[in-house]
């Protein structure tokens, strides 16, 4: 037989399970939830929460729609594209409201980076493109953390809420990065079970964070207000330099 005529489809019976590189689902959902919690902790007025709810719905829609588009299939893909488009529009509306509606400027700049960060995070986990995942995660959680820092400067919330928001941001980054790592090595094709490892990873990271917060608050209770400010700075900078000196 000649070369071209007899070569039919290469897979004779049915579909073979392809290796699908995509951020893992469970960690991705946890990351988005943690990011939303972080923004909600720093944006604590009713109006801010209302706008944030809108933004979270939009970001979720964007992420789910992106997943559906990636899944393939014309009908499902078209539906996913519509959902993602709607979600993106909702996020844009929320951002518009966040820039115009809150009466105080500080409330606006507390909320805006958080919403943009959530959007970037959902775009990373959809994913828009697998190679951009890590960069988008860094940008997204960075923006959320920017919101936390701004709130810390404006003193919009108490110390505990601020620490919890930081913890949620770090957990969001950790879970999202782990989702990319697991999704790149194990994949998300049918039959590849990854949930146990993801939950264990997030659980340990969260318990470390809770322990650290307890320690930090305990130190704060000791009355650091009495300490000279410079001494406190020196302590923290010293510990960070110690950590930087390590190679991991």
């Amino acid at each position: 037989m000649t070369a071209s005529d007899a070569t039919g489809p290469t897979a004779p019976d049915g579909v073979t399970a392809r290796f699908v590189r995509r951020p893992a689902v469970a960690s991705g959902v946890i990351a988005l939830a943690a990011g939303s919690v972080s923004v909600a902790l720093v944006a604590d007025t009713t109006l801010q929460r209302e706008i944030l709810r809108l933004a979270v719905v939009g970001a979720l829609g964007f992420g789910i729609g992106g997943r559906l588009v990636r899944r393939g299939g014309t009908a499902l893909g078209a539906l996913g594209a519509l959902v993602a488009l709607g979600g993106g529009l909702v996020v844009l509306v929320a951002m518009g409201q966040a820039t115009t509606r809150p009466p105080q400027v500080t409330h606006r700049i507390e909320l805006l980076p958080g919403i943009a960060g959530l959007w970037a995070l959902s775009a990373a986990l959809a994913p828009v493109r697998f190679r951009w995942c890590r960069a988008l995660i860094d940008v997204g959680t960075g923006l959320v953390f920017l919101g936390v820092l701004v709130t810390g400067v404006t003193q919009g919330v108490g110390t505990t809420a601020l620490l919890l928001a930081t913890l949620a941001t770090i957990l969001a980054w950790d879970a999202a990065e782990n989702a990319v790592s697991v999704g790149g090595q194990i994949g998300v094709q049918r039959g590849a079970r990854t949930v146990r490892a993801e939950l264990a990873h997030v659980g340990v990271a969260a318990s470390v964070g809770v322990g650290a917060i307890a320690a930090v608050l305990g130190v704060a209770r000791l009355g650091i207000d009495g300490l000279p400010f410079g001494a406190l700075v020196a302590l923290i900078v010293g510990s960070v330099i110690l950590v930087l000196g390590s190679d991991r």
């Binding site: 070369a3 019976d13 049915g14 399970a17 810390g152 194990i186 994949g187 590849a192 470390v208 991991r248």
Partner: protein
Amino acid sequence: MTPGIAALRRWLDSSERPERTAVDGRAERDPTARTDGGVTAEPASGTNRPSSVRWTGRWRGIAAVALLAVAIGVLAKRPSLLLVGALAGAYAAYPRLTAIPDPDLSIRREIEPASPADGERVSVRTTIANEGDATLADVRIVDGTPAMLSVSDGSPRCATALLPGGEVTIRYELRARPGRHVFRPTTVLCRDASGSVEVERSLTAASSVECAAEVPTVPLRAQSGHHPGPLVTDDGGEGIEFHSVEKYQRGDPANRIDWRRYARTGELTSLTFRTERLAEVVVCVDARPVSYRAADATEPHGVARAVDAADRIGDALFDANHRVGLAGFGRRVCVLPAQSGRDHASRFHRRLATDPAFGLEPPETARTTEREGGVAPSRPVAGDGPNSDRVARGDRADGADEAVPVDTQLSRIRAEFGANTQVVLITPLCDDEASRIAQRFESAGTAVTVVSPDVTAAETAGGRLARLERAHRLSVLRNAGIPVVDWTPAQPLGAAMTAIEWRGR
């Protein structure tokens, strides 16, 4: 600050830690000893392979975040931001709080059925158990499916957490293809809870799937030596099959004179038969890096199919009592001179299974080019994390790789040929060099038959172009008088060879 002290202690501890992982104290606890379930167990050498430790460095950026928070806190005089910085600093110390995992794992594999029919689904259950007394927070397993078989249901990959004594079972189905398929080592990646260090191990459970599909005959060229044998040639002489009628010449044996014709016409003629000779065949596998291409990430690549074909062609030739040799070229060169006999047959199969010239692991360069070309490599496992620097890399020293040009390798192979040797060249014909090699053998006086597994795909424009180029190479070879067996994936090898057999006659 407590994190700082913990970090310091960890840092001091860590100086002696790498030695502990480098010593792979697993010799006395051989995991393959537990292999069961219709599966051959052997003390595999794969367990002694050194594991590699990789630092992912994923928490490295958090120190910058901590410093940023502290800096802003200092500038704005906000003590709460200093506390935020301290929390981030705790996460910078987090990688130090977890030990480098030292996994002690056992593997067993159950295959049902172990001897399937062609195309039948084989269900595989691979169980990995944590035999150590430490919890493994993040175990990522990629089971080593045979290179030739594609997964039809489920996934051979899994990530889980394993408590001491805990186990995880991966279930999936393979679609059987003809031939004997050996499972490759299972790759296990163990990360600590923080994900900052990744230990790679490979576990071997030597199991195989055997799917019988013998090749009935191998189309050989009509060129032979002087020893009688099973190859029917086009020369007249002694034999069974009628060849021609010739005018009687003095000395022709009397039993070959056509007496009926003599009675009818009074003319003396003698019958000749096709002589049957012994063929000397060298099965030659093209394992150049360019041949490690596959139609799809889940399909076997060209060299895997070529080695499989060589195995079965060798069987068929040995069954017909031919003298068979083996050669392979590419990253390494391998030559086994042609002989016959049962010992030589087993030597042939052993060489094919173990010689590095026929290694089924794609070379690095082919992998990267595949990745650039959009086709995922067959086992994308390693290389995760933004800056994964390898500390202990357990590669065998691959000397003389690709250093020897193909022409030199070919002349080494040709040096082993006798005057009557013919070559069965198995190549996926991925580039023009492959067809040039076949023509060079032919022009040097060696009869060549090309068996070409088709690894082109029609899904993409590039795939269609590659298919067109391959079709062109096939017709170039056929025009040069070289018989070519075009072996498509949907077709058994025997059928592809029979198709050319009666065309060639």
